[in-house]
Amino acid sequence: MAAKVETTPWTKPAGKPIAGKPVPRPGRSAGVQSYLPEIVKGLGLTMSHFFRNTKQMMLGQRPDAVLESIAEGVTTIMYPEEKRPYPARFRGIHRLTLRDDGSPRCVACLCCSTACPAQCISIEPAEYPEGDLRRGYERYPGTFVIDELRCVFCGFCVEACPCDAIRMDTGNHPVPYDSREQFIYRKDLLMSFAGRDGSKQTENPRHEPGDPTHPGISRDHIH
């Protein structure tokens, strides 16, 4: 005994055939079987399309298939020459922001490389030289390397950075290269990028040791 099927609007009603519009099968007449008249009919159809569209194009009723496919108001853009505007929060290639004196803001705390899910950031911290006010107070990155092929552009490094030292606001894609080595971005390259506003610094102020705005916490007197 067949189980009773519940009827929904999407199932076939029990016992009732679905009514549809009968579509006649094309007959096997001599014209169809010999294939040629049908080809001629088809050629007539494509040619009528072609000549009608050509005429409309020449009369200016229809956009030119070539020239006006690049006119204003058409969604297609000519990519390398013109680019679609990215949203303000687009995560592009990384940059290392600079201080006023041109050194990196980065203090080599390793927060970003720790936060990085792709483990594409590699930092070797170094101490500032003897006599520098910052020595003993903070470090700087001796090497700062990002493998742009490993990077997943999640932006966690930017979130993790306590000093606003790494940002992804350049608005650029990673450029295509022909070898893997070229995707290894080093410190000097990362420092050479500017943000979208053209500045290599950030708008967040930095309070260097010795500045009047500096909270005055220095480890000089501790040692």
């Binding site: 399309h49 072609f50 569209n53 005429k55 000519m78 990215y86």
Partner: protein
């Protein structure tokens, strides 16, 4: 062989190769452009060269300036009593033609882009159709006017009309140059630059050879695919024979003889005491058989490419290509036997000669034409017979493992094949270089023995017109062959084999038998032969009327006065219009 003959042979080869290669590029472009217009989509539009305005102006002005100089020199120096009537007529008709065509183009441009000065507004005020009709009326009036000029003043008339032609060319050139916008101008040539850009790209792309493939054969295959297609055209006559005189009577064809072209020709081609030059690279006595032999060689390229690639798909593709081409070669050869019986020759020159004096091949062998066209498309591996390629089955078939210029050579070979097959169709079925009623000595409209109209023409003019007619016919036939691609869906592979062996082959044999029987029955009966000759003249008249009607219909259709309104075509376009366009300036990023 003198140096002149060698140089002429090289020139003929260059003309043919240049035509084939440039037309292959044009066909690549034409196919995409035609598809865009048939299927309502965007055509090839990306390739562009930005040139400074001054350079573009130079490019625009140079050709008209050159023509104006030639016309001016003709008016000044090269008009004599013998050539005066024709020179006067040609100059007048050409200046009328250039005049109305430029006015038409200007009218379209101004209507699209807006008028800049008084002349623009004047021309835009005319309807395109009225410009075309005025041009036609002026052409007729020009004939009447030149005929009305008395013989003594023809020399002055020739100078005046050629001067007029020079002035028209100069004005058109300068005016077109002044229309070039300021600054950098993007040159797209209606998308034609795409083919060139593709070529440049293919040259610089990496050339990959499968590590376990056969390196020698893999590199040899594309050459073997292109070579036979190019050499097929060696036996094709692309114009009437030229006759050079021998003024220094040394019996040798040397350089001064080149200037001594025979001024006029009888109804039959005769060159007594002179040197005749056939516009044909090689006049082989095996003619069509040579073409079949060369087309048969094309199989090797495809099969080798499939074998040497060390890839199952390419091997399958190569096998498919080889078996398809071999099968259809049989039907192709047999479908032409009827034609050879009727023409009584396998040489291409006599074949075209027969067609120009009797009737075009398509009228005497319509069924053979259909069979030959089918076999030819299968032979060139184009849609609907493109089973050697198939994305869903064997990827790209025998050239799966090819990249860069080698792949480009296969593609070029395919498109040259398209042009070569058009050349074959034109030579065998569409009268080759002959135009209806254009004989060796000029236009003569005759039915049987009654001549209705005769007009003597210069020998060189007839030869040039015949060569232009040949190349024009090839272009139109190629255009038509591309249409077949957008119309007919492809076959399954077993259907293709079945069509070749169980349909085309018996039909070709039957066509051959019936033709032979009819020829045997008609031969020797004077009445029947006269009747057929008259019918042949009727077909020539039909072709002439058809050609004129087609040209008129195209012009009348394209210049039809219509309300100007823009159609919003794509959904994306409509969406963009509603949201005020997607483009933001200045561009970010």
């Amino acid at each position: 062989m003198t140096s002149v003959i060698a140089v002429l042979a090289i020139v003929k080869i260059l003309i043919m190769i240049g035509f084939l290669l440039s037309m292959a590029a044009v066909a690549t472009w034409g196919e995409r452009r035609q598809a865009a217009l048939v299927q309502d989509r965007v055509g090839p539009n990306r390739a562009v060269i930005y040139l400074p305005s001054l350079v573009v102006q130079g490019i625009v002005i140079t050709p008209p300036a050159l023509f104006a100089t030639i016309a001016g020199f003709t008016a000044w120096r090269y008009v004599n009593v013998v050539t005066a009537p024709e020179s006067a007529l040609t100059g007048l008709q050409l200046s009328i033609f250039v005049g109305w065509l430029s006015a038409l183009v200007l009218c379209f441009v101004v209507r699209k882009k807006g008028a800049a000065n008084g002349l623009d507004r004047l021309v835009a005020g005319w309807t395109p159709r009225s410009i075309f009709v005025t041009g036609l009326v002026l052409h007729v009036l020009g004939f009447v006017a030149v005929a009305a000029v008395p013989a003594p003043s023809l020399l002055i008339a020739a100078r005046v009309t050629n001067g007029l032609l020079a002035a028209v060319f100069a004005f058109v050139g300068v005016y077109a140059g002044s229309k070039v916008p300021e600054g950098k101008v993007g040159i797209r040539l209606a998308g034609l630059l795409h083919a060139i850009a593709d070529t440049v790209k293919m040259i610089w792309k990496e050339d990959f050879i499968p590590p376990r493939g056969d390196k020698l054969l893999h590199s040899l295959a594309p050459i073997l695919a292109v070579f036979p297609v190019l050499v097929t055209c060696a036996v094709i006559p692309f114009g009437r024979s030229l006759c050079f005189g021998d003024p220094n009577r040394n019996g040798v064809f040397d350089w001064p003889d080149l200037l001594a072209v025979a001024p006029a020709m009888g109804s039959k081609f005769q060159c007594p005491g002179g040197h005749s030059v056939h516009l044909q690279i090689a006049d082989l006595n095996v003619g069509v058989l040579y073409i079949f032999a060369m087309a048969g060689t094309g199989v090797i390229g495809a099969a080798l490419a499939g074998w040497a690639s060390d890839n199952k798909w390419s091997l399958l593709g190569g096998l498919r290509a080889a078996s398809q081409m071999v099968s259809y070669e049989v039907a192709m050869g047999l479908s032409l036997i009827g034609l050879m019986i009727i023409y009584g020759s396998v040489q291409l020159g006599p074949m075209v000669e027969w067609q120009s004096t009797h009737a075009w091949g398509i009228f005497v062998q319509p069924f053979g034409f259909v069979l030959f066209l089918t076999a030819l498309i299968a032979e060139t591996k184009r849609v609907p017979f493109d089973q050697p390629e198939g994305e869903s089955e064997i990827v790209a078939g025998y050239f799966v493992e090819y990249s860069g210029l080698k792949w480009g050579m296969f593609m070029t070979g395919e498109y040259v094949e398209l042009i070569t097959s058009s050349v074959l169709l034109v030579t065998l079925f569409f009268g080759g270089y002959s135009l209806p009623f254009l004989q060796n000595d000029g236009v003569r409209v005759a039915f049987g023995s009654s001549v209705l109209f005769a007009y003597k023409m210069n020998h060189v003019a007839v030869v040039v017109i015949s060569a232009l007619a040949f190349f024009g016919k090839v272009i139109v036939t190629g255009f038509f062959q591309i249409f077949i691609r957008w119309t007919v869906p492809r076959f399954r592979y077993d259907q293709l084999m079945k069509l070749g062996w169980t349909r085309l082959l018996p039909l070709a044999l039957g066509n051959m038998l019936v033709t032979a029987l009819v020829v045997l029955a008609v031969q020797g009966h004077a009445d029947a032969e006269n009747g057929l000759a008259f019918l042949g003249d009727v077909t020539q008249a039909l072709v002439a009327i058809g050609m004129v009607a087609a040209v008129l219909a195209i012009f009348f259709g394209l210049v039809e006065p219509a309300k100007r309104q823009r159609l919003m075509l794509s959904t994306a376009q409509k969406f963009a219009a509603v949201t005020g366009g997607v483009r933001v300036t200045p561009r970010q990023a």
